[in-house]
Amino acid sequence: MSLSAIASKVRAGVPLSQADGLALYQHPNLMEVGALANDVRERLHGDRTYFNRNLHINPTNVCVASCKLCSFSRRRADAEGAFVLDVEQAVDKLRARLAAGDRVTEVHIVGGLHDGLPFDYFTGLLSSLKAAAPGISLKAFSAVEIFFFHHLYGMSIEDILRRLQSAGLDSLPGGGAEILSSRVRKAICPNKCEADEWLEVHRTAHRLGIKSNCTMLFGTVETLEDRVDHLLLLRAQQAESAGFMAFIPLPFHPENNALGDRPAPTAAEILRTVAVSRLLLHNVPHIKAYWVSLGLATAQTALWFGADDFDGTVSEEKIYHQAGSLSPQALASGEIARLVRAAGRVPVERDTLYGHVAQAGGEVS
């Protein structure tokens, strides 16, 4: 399939096929693929580039999964570096940000699969954060964690989600998808839920009115076909349940984990994946250039290769930094706006659900 034929399909709104996706990955000129993705990005969002003010909280790094790709987890609670935040410590992190005058609109919560914590710990965490800041949006627990809760606590996925929702859960992050292929998951994360189980959690969440994000971790052992099939699975899920807000491509970081002998994806490969995802995921509204994982300069450039979201101010990111990410630990909202403007785009502060956040002067930043 030639690029011009693919471009015709894109302009006509015809969903791209697996063969199209592979052709985009294998096209010799990155610039042409990027330009096509940028056309779609600008048609959907113009120059607007979204970001939010968020806080990351990792309740624990104790995890039974032992994934080869992970630099963050500790297998046992008594291992060096293992931690479990108590609820008050987590709430203090939020209070500290608010006390400093930072108008955080979202708390992003992901952690390890700890088999020694009661379910009340998680509902208590959510309800306490909500009590501390009633207007805050809680984006918490990846599908992998939700599926683990389902097994550990003997409740259905729907019951787990309903109880978390009652405690204050607003949306789900997109992590843990890795590559939605049994072969790849056996190789890199054999103890995580299966691909269909990951999708089932999101399907259930969407049915309950809980929006979510979706991700793809690329650059480990997967093939280009695996990546394209992964994107097509997400697209099919979105066609059915329509609850994904953003897709986040995540390049593998090789430091401090069992896959560390592999080179990290190059910047060209990252940009190509951003572009291909924008073109294949026609029904997912936003593509995120997660600066923590991509690095600032690559994330800025990705805003011209299909991405329309820079993620947030973050602070306290641990998972990627322990895997060797060299990006800063946090960015002030003004710094994000400056980086976005320097990339020739217009920064727009959003809330979790992509509503615009009015600034003090009544303007959108």
């Binding site: 690095g295 300069a297 980086l339 320097a342």
Partner: protein, 233 residues
């Protein structure tokens, strides 16, 4: 057409297409990497001892005692400024001369145009200048850096446009290869040192990794080796 960087209404992809095509045409689809080290004003070297390219910056020469002294200490390349005061002498001594061009994300297009005009004049005046090395002043911004590399390529289509990986990092450095650059230099070694002791935070590339950056950008990787040899990989 002369492309100007730092003008937000320019089409990034048009700039990239033109600059990439010019780079490919100039070097027949080849791109280069070279292990480099630098001579400091106090006579010490920074970078792998086995590096092919041993550079000295023009502004270090006064402290070192001049170009001839730097040559005796092992320098075989000069980073000259836009005035290019020592460029002709260095070419005469058989040294590789790279012209450094500073750029800042917040400079005006007039300032940038003036810098590029100076560069073009220097390259005309000193025919032996082999390459252009853009040097970010302050924090390098993604888009601005790519635009500036494209502008350098279109200003000096026949010269090597060189990425210093120490200044730009591997990711942004590689992207410059899609915007007119055709060469990367940095701490490139045969084998990665264990990340212990003085190497704990080393970002050195291996030769294989350097070749991968070039190949993944659509070029045939070539390594610059001692005595002017080039090995196609």
């Amino acid at each position: 057409m002369r492309l100007e960087a730092n003008e937000p209404n320019l089409d990034l992809f048009d700039m990239g297409r033109q600059a990439l095509a010019a780079a490919r045409a100039a070097f027949a689809g080849n791109a280069f990497f070279v292990a480099a080290r630098r001579l400091q004003p106090d006579g010490a070297w920074l970078g792998p001892p086995e590096a092919t390219l041993a550079l000295v910056a023009e502004d270090a020469l006064a402290a070192l005692g001049g170009l001839a002294v730097a040559r005796k200490l092992g320098a075989n390349g000069v980073l000259c400024d836009r005035a290019g005061t020592v460029a002709g002498e260095a070419v005469g001594l058989g040294m590789r001369v790279l012209a450094c061009v500073p750029f800042a994300a917040d400079e005006s297009s007039d300032v940038r145009r003036a810098h590029l005009d100076q560069l073009a004049e220097l390259v005309r005046r000193v025919p032996g200048i082999d390459g252009i090395l853009p040097v970010p002043v302050g924090e390098a911004q993604g888009l601005d850096t790519l635009q500036f590399f494209a502008a350098c390529r279109m200003t000096c289509p026949a010269q090597h446009v060189v990425v210093d990986l120490e200044l730009l990092g591997q990711k942004l450095g590689q992207l410059c290869l899609s915007f007119g650059a055709d060469e990367i230099l940095g701490s490139i070694t045969g084998q990665r040192a264990l990340r212990l002791g003085e190497h704990a935070s080393s970002n050195a590339l291996t030769r294989d990794e350097a070749a991968l950056l070039l190949r993944a950008s659509g070029f045939t990787p070539c390594e610059r080796q001692p005595e002017g040899k080039v090995q196609v990989l």
